[in-house]
């Protein structure tokens, strides 16, 4: 049953991805730009530009280019970047793990801090802890990540010198050959503690900035759900029956509050992937966000399309996972 459901959802995701492809293709081609000029290089003459146009298939009519792009995608090829001439698929394979690592760490921060804080805030509703937490939560959503990132760089890197400013590893450290491409994981797999700590030092600030809106959302939803759940009849009943308070909060109420929290986690995951664009730009984090921005600004659209697809797919998968987790958490969804 679950397998069939997953298959159906994946099929739906496929349809959605096709929609995404169409959308990005349209956007990429509305502009009066000449990618061939970019491909051929700045000093190229007409003959070289025409050569590049042929090389990249840009001389074909749009619908043919579209069909070719879709065909390439079906084979897992994302086309070539006109700015660099490199395969977008290979670039993505290189950048995506970095972004994924960043997002995973940020999401972990969001969960580890957001959920307990939301719980505490609900328990101490309308007390000072709650007020502070709520302002903090709204701030998390209101702080411009690019600005906050700059401030953190200024404070922790430039003035205090505790943490590195940007990048993924020190200039002197040679990045190891990727296993998963996620440095923290790779260094653990290799048992390289020094590398682990170094990459941890580099990921802290960007992950913190990235996690803040997500943390805030989780906190807010978790708080208000906890408030609702703590008021729920079944909590009153469990109290009346003598259940221990901590279990009441941490199991009985939290489990129920986790359902909407889960939904927001799914949403925020997608959102987070999108805001890596800003955070990666600020922290010079070599991931898909930076890749998309620099390509977009250069007018190089194949990478942008590739990133959009990857991030969109990721979002759809995340939603699928959330739906499945819903089933794990909520027995009502499992059977009649």
């Amino acid at each position: 049953m679950i397998a069939a459901y997953v298959a159906r959802r994946l099929a739906l995701a496929g349809v959605m991805l096709f929609g995404l492809v169409c959308l990005t293709f349209v956007i990429a081609n509305v502009a009066p730009s000449d990618p061939a000029a970019l491909a051929a290089g700045p000093d190229a003459g007409r003959s070289q530009i025409e050569q590049a146009r042929r090389d990249y298939g840009l001389d074909k009519p749009l619908h043919e280019q579209f069909l070719r792009y879709v065909g390439d995608l079906a084979q897992g090829e994302f086309g070539r970047s006109v700015a660099t001439g490199r395969s977008v698929g290979r670039d993505l394979a290189r950048y995506f793990p970095a972004t994924l690592e960043l997002c995973l760490v940020a999401m972990s921060i969001g969960l580890v801090v957001g959920i307990p804080l939301g719980m505490l805030s609900a328990l101490f509703k309308d007390r000072w802890l709650d007020h502070v937490t709520r302002i903090f939560a709204v701030s998390g959503i209101a702080l411009p990540p690019f600005w906050f990132g700059l401030l953190l760089q200024l404070g922790f890197a430039t003035w205090l010198g505790w943490l590195p400013t940007s990048g993924r590893l020190g200039v002197a450290t040679e990045p190891p050959e990727p296993i998963t491409g996620m440095l923290l994981l790779d260094s653990l797999l290799r048992g390289d503690a020094a590398l682990f700590w170094e990459s941890a030092g580099y990921i802290i600030l960007p992950a913190l900035v990235l996690s803040l809106p997500c943390l805030a959302s989780i906190l807010r939803v978790n708080r208000s759900e906890m408030v609702e759940c703590l008021r729920a009849d079944y909590i009153t009943a469990a109290r009346a029956h003598g259940t221990v308070p901590w279990r009441l909060v941490a199991v009985h109420a939290l489990k129920n509050a986790m359902l909407p929290t889960l939904a927001i986690i799914g949403l925020r995951w997608g959102w987070m992937m999108s805001s890596t664009v800003l955070v990666e730009t600020v922290f010079d984090w070599p991931g898909t966000g930076l890749y998309a921005v620099s390509s977009a600004i250069a007018g190089d659209f194949k990478p942008v399309m590739g990133v959009t697809l990857i991030v969109g797919l990721n979002f759809m998968l995340a939603n699928l996972v959330v739906d499945l987790l819903y089933g794990v958490l909520d027995p009502r969804l499992r059977d009649a």
Binding site: S33, A37, D43, T84, G161, G170, G201
Partner: protein, 525 residues
């Protein structure tokens, strides 16, 4: 596994490692760390060049000749010497006997022939330099150490381009051909050269690590004892961390810093700034065919309203105003008398003579998106044009869009700000931008029209008689200035900041903005 820093890191988790460390070491030798903002997506020397790419290419490859010094000179390199025929059609190069590729293969005439053929046939990157004058079949390996090029017609700048045609090892390339791509795919991230450095690790977006080639056929100028272990090119897109890295001695040389940053860096102990006039010119191209700027008087009015001092001020003094379409230092450059400087009265006189005597027009000023200096110059221009009652619409656009618009006079913006770096020292490199054939290319966005000038440009590039050629170029410069197809702006200085233990830095204006020749550099400590 690399190196000292990691060991320390293992001990002190977060606090220690970003404190001052000193340069990188590997064994007893030092590693030079250079950092800039621009990636190296494709290393293939026949496909792509820009400053960062060419810096690495220059490291791992050799060419027949090499540019050195300021003013730039062309010196023999793989070729010990060359001869040109009197008609300017045939060039014969004699190769050094001891040159070898990194894998030990000799750099022979066939390698040279193959490399030029490859460059021409791929028709990308450097191809434009020689494509119209040299056919692949006219390159002949006379013997193992002699190559002869026969041009289609005389082309004076030929020699000035040869230093950019790097020689690849045909055996390696042919061994790695896929789908008849001339090894293009493989050379994107691999090297098959004979240069002073061997590629150790290539990650074009973050880090390129090269080892010095101990057995480099040309030897090492600083002596074997001081030879580096290698050089690392770190791509750090943001200026602040580059600067921080330099201050913390994680990086030895940085470039692409703003003039303001450079000013601050100059004050720091242990850091030395290199600040030199290059060849890169900044101009604001008028659309000479369509729109208000087709009116030469308006162009002159604008050129006289421009606040040239602001151009210098924006660079904190680190720039020179152009006094000719040609950069100073280029062969045949003259200081053209009467090149516009700020003079509001003159500007108003010209405006009065134009089709817009009262101004009241809005002009579009396009610059490449994300470039800071052209944006600020736009602001300065906007301010300068206010007395003429001309409004300025400052637009940053992606390169692709800008080029697409500039390809036709109908769509080209009124004004486009462009940096142009001449690739060779021959005056034709710059002059040809004003030829009809350059219309629509980014440096030809002004769609400048003057058949007499075109004729002279065309004639000069084939002239063998040097004094006559120089005179011709002097005249060309005067005429172009008179037509004012652009605001001749300034030549920004090229700047690097480096630790003072970095030695052997040699500037040459012919290189691109941040590009340095890593070969002679070493660390003294």
């Amino acid at each position: 596994m690399n190196t000292t820093r990691r060991g320390i890191l293992a001990g002190a988790a977060l606090l220690a490692p970003w404190q001052a460390m000193g340069f990188e070491r590997e064994g007893g030798r030092k590693v030079l760390v250079f950092s800039g903002n621009q990636a190296v997506p494709v290393l293939d020397p026949h496909v792509r060049y820009d400053w960062s790419t060419r810096m690495i290419q220059q490291g791992v490859y050799d060419a027949l000749l090499k540019y050195v010094g300021d003013p730039p000179r062309i010196v023999p390199w793989l070729a010990e010497r060359y001869e040109a025929s009197a008609d300017g059609l045939t060039y014969t190069f004699h190769l050094a006997a001891n040159a070898t590729f990194h894998n030990g293969d000799a750099v022979d005439a066939e390698a040279v022939r193959f490399s030029f053929e490859r460059g021409l046939k791929l028709n990308a990157g450097i191809a434009w330099m020689l494509k119209d004058f040299l056919k692949p079949e006219k390159i002949v390996a006379v013997d193992a150490r002699t190559v002869r090029f026969t041009l289609e017609r005389p082309f004076a700048p030929f020699i000035s381009y040869v230093p950019w045609w790097y020689i690849v090892n045909p055996k390696q390339v042919l061994a790695n051909v896929s789908e008849g791509d001339y090894g293009r795919k493989w050379l994107t991230e691999n090297a098959a050269g004979s240069g002073p450095f061997k590629l150790r690790r290539f990650d074009g977006n973050s880090l390129i690590h090269m080892d010095t080639h101990a057995a480099y056929w040309k030897g090492w100028p600083m002596g074997e004892a001081n030879r580096l272990a290698g050089a690392i090119f770190r791509i750090v897109r943001e200026a602040a961390p580059r600067r921080a890295g330099l201050q913390r001695r994680e990086i030895d040389v940085i470039t692409n810093m703003s003039p303001d940053d450079m000013e601050q860096l100059a004050k720091l102990p242990g850091i030395r700034n290199e600040d030199h006039a290059g060849f890169t010119t900044f101009g604001i191209k008028f659309n000479c065919q369509t729109g208000p700027t087709a009116d030469v008087n308006l162009r002159k009015a604008i050129a006289h309203a421009m606040d040239y001092d602001a151009l210098i001020a924006i660079h904190n003094g680190g720039a020179r105003l152009m006094d000719s379409p040609f950069p100073p230092g280029m062969e045949s450059h003259i200081s053209v008398p009467g090149i516009p400087r700020k003079d509001l009265d003159k500007a108003k006189q010209y405006l009065a003579r134009s089709r817009f005597p009262n101004g009241d027009i809005e002009l579009e000023y396009v610059h490449v998106q994300g470039l800071e200096d052209p944006r600020r110059i736009g602001l300065a221009l906007l301010d300068s044009l206010r007395p003429l009652n001309i409004r300025l619409n400052i637009v940053g656009q992606p390169w692709t869009t800008m080029v697409a618009r500039g390809s036709k006079a109908e769509t080209a913006p009124n004004m486009t700000s462009v940096y142009v770096t001449p690739v060779g020292t021959d005056p034709d490199t710059v002059a040809y931008q004003y030829h009809r054939e350059s219309w629509g290319l980014y440096y030809g966005m002004s769609h400048y029209e003057n058949p007499e000038v075109w004729r002279m440009i065309g004639e000069a590039r084939g002239m063998v008689d040097k004094p006559a050629r120089l005179a011709m170029y002097a005249e060309i410069q005067r005429r172009i200035v008179a037509d004012q197809p652009e605001i001749f702006g300034m030549i920004p200085n090229r700047t690097w900041a480096m630790r003072d233990y970095v030695k052997g830095f040699q500037f040459s204006p012919i290189r691109f903005t941040g590009e340095v020749d890593l070969y002679p550099m070493w660390i003294e400590a």
